[in-house]
C-alpha cells in the first residue's frame, strides 16, 4: 500500500515539466565545469579541490556536487518541498489528501520519500554526467586525491558513490526543514524564499569569527568538511560530524512538519 503511494508520488513529481527542466539544468552544470577547465588548459594548481581537476576527470562529479551544495542543491530541494505541501494546498489538492482515510503522518512520509528519491536522482544524474563529461574533456587515469595518491577507477567510483549519498542526505535534511515551512503556507514561493534566505544568511553568519559559538548550529558549517572524501585515507570525523548535524535538522524539520500537519484543520 505504502509502496504504491511512494511510487505514485515520484511519478507525480516526475510528470511536472519544471522538474524535468530542473534536472536538465542540473545535468548541464558538470558539462560546463568540465568544458571550462578544459578551455583553461593544462594549467593546474590553485586553492582547494579545483587544483587537482586537470587530467583528473573523475574529480569533476565531486567538484560539481561540492560547489552545487552551497546554493543550487538547496534551491532544488526547496522547490520540491514547496511543491509537496504548499503547492498542493494552492491547487486545492491537499484538502483531499488531508480528509482521506490516510494517516497524516503517513502523508508526510510519502512526501519525504518523494523528496529523498528526487534528491538522489538529481545528485546521481549530476555525478554520472560529471563522470562522462570529466572523462571526455579532461581524460582520466584513476583518481588523484587531495593527498597526492592515485586511486584505481573502481575505488574512485566508490568515493563518488559515497559522496552522492552524503550530499543527498544534506539535501534531504534541508528539504525536511523546507517541508515544515511548506506545511504552514499555501504559497510555494514563500517556502523557496525562506529556505534560500536561511541558507544564504547561514553562510554569511559562518564568515564572522566573532559568532563562532553559533557556527556549530548552522547546517552550512558542515558543508566544507564533506570534501574529506577526497583525502586519502579518508578521515571520517568531519564527515561524521556534518552528517550528524544534517540528521538533527532532518529530525527537527520532520517533527515540525508532522506537528503542523496533524493539527491542521483540513
Amino acid at each position: 500500500m505504502i509502496t504504491r503511494q511512494f511510487g505514485s508520488e515520484v511519478r507525480w513529481m516526475l510528470r511536472r515539466p519544471r522538474t524535468l527542466i530542473g534536472l536538465l539544468g542540473l545535468a548541464l552544470v558538470p558539462i560546463v565545469i568540465s568544458f571550462g577547465v578544459w578551455l583553461a588548459g593544462e594549467e593546474s594548481g590553485g586553492p582547494g579541490i579545483a587544483a587537482i581537476l586537470g587530467g583528473n576527470g573523475l574529480v569533476v562529479p565531486i567538484f560539481t556536487l561540492f560547489m552545487s551544495l552551497n546554493l543550487l542543491l538547496p534551491l532544488v530541494a526547496s522547490i520540491w518541498a514547496a511543491d509537496g505541501l504548499a503547492g498542493e494546498a494552492q491547487h486545492g489538492t491537499l484538502r483531499g489528501l488531508l480528509v482521506a482515510p490516510v494517516s497524516r503522518v503517513r502523508l508526510l512520509f510519502v512526501k519525504l520519500f518523494g523528496l529523498t528519491a528526487m534528491s538522489l536522482l538529481a545528485v546521481t544524474l549530476m555525478a554520472v554526467v560529471g563522470i562522462i563529461a570529466g572523462t571526455a574533456f579532461l581524460g582520466t587515469d584513476g583518481m588523484t586525491t587531495l593527498s597526492g595518491t592515485t586511486l584505481g577507477t573502481g575505488e574512485g567510483l566508490l568515493r563518488i558513490a559515497l559522496f552522492i549519498v552524503l550530499v543527498t542526505f544534506q539535501m534531504v535534511s534541508i528539504g525536511a526543514v523546507a517541508l515544515a515551512v511548506s506545511a504552514t503556507t499555501e504559497h510555494p514561493l514563500v517556502v523557496q524564499a525562506a529556505t534560500m534566505v536561511s541558507i544564504i544568511v547561514f553562510q554569511v553568519l559562518g564568515q564572522f569569527p566573532a559568532l563562532d559559538w553559533l557556527h556549530p548550529f548552522l547546517i552550512t558549517t558542515g558543508f566544507p568538511g564533506l570534501i574529506d572524501v577526497m583525502r586519502d585515507p579518508v578521515p571520517l570525523d568531519q564527515i561524521w560530524d556534518s552528517t550528524l548535524l544534517a540528521g538533527c535538522y532532518l529530525l527537527i524539520g520532520t517533527g515540525l512538519a508532522a506537528l503542523r500537519l496533524i493539527t491542521k484543520d483540513n
Binding site: P47, S147, L256
Partner: protein, 352 residues
C-alpha cells in the same frame, strides 16, 4: 483521538531530540573523568619521556594556537586557532604526514631513504633522496618530539612534579609539570606534558604563560591508534600530471621569500646562544644584503606585527607573542627567546 495524541507526542519528541542533538554537537568534547593510576615519581617520568621510543602508531594531532598573534590574511596558519594534522609512523623511521589546510592538503611521506612532499595547491611533488632524518614538519607537530626537546633543555632549570592524571585521545596519562625555577626570567609559567601511562610516550604538550589560565599553545593527539600501520601508507607515487622537483630546485625558488633571510639567520649553521634554561636567548646577524632585499609589501607586514623600540643598544623592531619575544635591530642583529623584552635589550649587545 489517542492515536492523534501519540503522533503529536512522537513529532514533538523528534523536534526535541533534534534540538538536543544540535546542542550536544556544539558542545566541546569534555575531558571526562581523570583516570586513576598508580603513583609515579617525577624523576622516573622524566627519564621515561627522554628515553621513550614510540613504536608504530597513527593518529590525529591537534595544534591549538592562542599566542595572541594578529590575524593576517596572507599567513592564515599563524592566526590563533586550531589546526590538525594526521601522522602515521611505523616506529622505525618511516613517516607519513597529512597537513590539511582548508580544502587543500600537503602530504609528506618518508620511507627512511626518500622523502616525498606533495602540495595540492601547487600540484608539485618534491623528492629528496638519501635523507634518513625525520622531516622538519614531523618534528614540529609531533608532541613526543616536542616534549623530549623541552624536557631535555629545561629539566635542570625547573621544578618538576606530577600533577594528577588526564585522559588524552582516550588514553590514560600522567600530567608531568615543569615549572621554571624562580631565578628564570621567562614568559612561561609552566609546561604540562601528558605522558601515556602504558607507552610512556608524551601525548600532549601545553605551554602556559604568565597571566593567563588557558594554554598559549597546545600540541596533542586528538585520536591515536597504536600498533602496526598499513605499509602502503609509507609508499608514495607522484600523481601522473604533477611536476616532480628536487629540494635544490625548490630552494632556488624559495630564496625569493622575504622571510627566508630571517629564518635562515635564526636556524643558521651556528646561532649564538646566550644564557641557558628557560631564559636562553638565540642571537644571529642577518646579512646586510638580506635586510635590504625585503620587499615593501613584506615590510608593511612586518610593521603591522611589530613595535618600534630603541635604547642604549640601538634601535629596532620588537615582535611580541604570549610565549616568545623577537627583537630585530635595524643593523641586522636578531635575538629571540621565551623571555620578557628587557632580557633581549640586555643581551643584544653581545651579538657578534
Amino acid at each position: 483521538m489517542n492515536k492523534r495524541k501519540a503522533s503529536l507526542a512522537a513529532a514533538a519528541a523528534g523536534v526535541v531530540a533534534g534540538a538536543a542533538g544540535l546542542s550536544l554537537l556544539a558542545m566541546p568534547a569534555g575531558a571526562g573523568q581523570p583516570p586513576s593510576l598508580p603513583d609515579v615519581s617525577p624523576e622516573s617520568l622524566v627519564e621515561q619521556v627522554l628515553t621513550s621510543k614510540p613504536g608504530a602508531f597513527g593518529g590525529t594531532v591537534e595544534v591549538d594556537n592562542q599566542l595572541g598573534l594578529p590575524a593576517i590574511a596572507e599567513i592564515p596558519q599563524l592566526a590563533d586557532g586550531k589546526h590538525s594534522a594526521r601522522v602515521w609512523t611505523d616506529g622505525a623511521g618511516k613517516v607519513r604526514l597529512a597537513l590539511p589546510n582548508g580544502q587543500s592538503e600537503q602530504t609528506i611521506v618518508s620511507d627512511g631513504t626518500t622523502t616525498w612532499s606533495w602540495n595540492s595547491v601547487t600540484n608539485k611533488v618534491t623528492k629528496a633522496e638519501g635523507k634518513t632524518e625525520q622531516p622538519e614538519e614531523a618534528k614540529a607537530i609531533d608532541p613526543a618530539t616536542a616534549a623530549k626537546e623541552i624536557v631535555g633543555l629545561t629539566k635542570e632549570f625547573s621544578d618538576i612534579s606530577v600533577d594528577g592524571t588526564a585522559r588524552v585521545a582516550n588514553r590514560a596519562a600522567y600530567e608531568l609539570v615543569l615549572t621554571p625555577k624562580a631565578s628564570e626570567k621567562t614568559l612561561v609559567r609552566e609546561v604540562r606534558i601528558a605522558v601515556d601511562s602504558e607507552l610512556k610516550m608524551p601525548l600532549r604538550v601545553a605551554v602556559l604563560t604568565n597571566g593567563t589560565a588557558e594554554p598559549a599553545g597546545t600540541v596533542g593527539f586528538r585520536e591515536i591508534n597504536v600498533g602496526p600501520q598499513d605499509p602502503k601508507l609509507f609508499e608514495f607515487t607522484p600523481p601522473a600530471n604533477a611536476e616532480v622537483t628536487t629540494p635544490e630546485a625548490e630552494k632556488g625558488e624559495r630564496g625569493e621569500r622575504p622571510e627566508a633571510g630571517l629564518e635562515q639567520a635564526l636556524r643558521g649553521e651556528n646561532p649564538q646562544v646566550f644564557g641557558s634554561g628557560w631564559d636562553l636567548v638565540v642571537g644571529a646577524r642577518i646579512p646586510a644584503d638580506a635586510m635590504t632585499q625585503v620587499p615593501a609589501e613584506a615590510q608593511g607586514l612586518v610593521d603591522r606585527f611589530t613595535k618600534k623600540v630603541s635604547g642604549g643598544w640601538g634601535s629596532g623592531q620588537l615582535f611580541t607573542t604570549k610565549i616568545a619575544t623577537v627583537l630585530i635591530a635595524d643593523d641586522g642583529r636578531v635575538v629571540a627567546g621565551a623571555v620578557p623584552e628587557q632580557v633581549l635589550f640586555d643581551t643584544i649587545g653581545q651579538v657578534k
